[in-house]
Symmetry: D2
Subunit: 93 residues, 4 copies
């Protein structure tokens, strides 16, 4: 079960755009682009990846976590702990 | 002039690895991988991109900035301001 | 209603420790401590603040958000959107 | 020797403001302020601390590092490595 089912196409489009940014970075390095310009593009790609993460996390909370809690049972606490740990990993990335 | 000339191959290898991670993310989403597992991989790719940024920045300081300062002239201050702004962009990404 | 009721003392202790770190930073600057040593302490204080944020967020999800969802009603979606926005603010801080 | 000598007062003012934000956070927690409002203030304090870090780093590059390089000698490389490591610590905070 995934929380991003309804936005799968949008998510894939975003990831393909990030892939394009990473390939663009390779071309920049390959053609000896000035370091600072490469760094600006690395910042942009990082920001785009973080936006994907926030999108995924939002869908996860709105679907998987919400369903687990609404369904009751002991799975709810485990889902919340798991989400908190994922947020911690993202903030430390 | 670029500061990463000597480590160009290493930088390209790292970027190709990040590209592989982004393509792996697309496969994960395409095959409906559980959100948290996708998020863990997004964190890993973000960390790898930040490592590329630190690598580039280190080379830039050690070559471009150092050369500008050693060469004297008014370019040195501009280089330092430019590097500080790039660091600010990375920290806010 | 707050989600951190049970851990209020622990949270206040952590915040007092961060306050001590910030006062320590003022003493360091006041006594002309070497920049890099000041920066190391700024990193430590930032990390401690981020830990407070993760703690608060975990309690919020485990109590406020979980209660809103378990109670049903339309408040649940609003709570999830609100939490997602808070996470986005933290990641961009 | 410090790089922030000329901006010491400004730096101390910023740190006192962050200290005020941290004390404000303690009052918020003490009076059971809603978690999300506390988190918004934690994000603001984190952002203010990161601004202090960028300020310090800029002064360090513009004075300590620049002087070491201009003075020639082998200290220059050590200063650049040290600055790169401080940047890495800040980005991972």
């Amino acid at each position: 079960m995934t929380g991003y089912r309804a936005e799968k196409d949008q998510l894939l489009r975003r990831l393909r755009r990030v892939e394009g940014q990473i390939r663009g970075l390779q071309r920049m390095v390959d053609t000896d682009t000035y370091c600072i310009d490469v760094l600006t593009q690395v910042s942009a790609a990082t920001k785009a990846l973080q936006a994907v993460a926030l999108h995924l996390l939002g869908s996860h909370l709105a679907h998987c976590v919400q369903d687990a809690i609404a369904g009751g049972g002991e799975e709810a606490d485990a889902k919340i702990t798991e989400a908190s740990q994922a947020i911690a990993r993202l903030m430390r990335a």
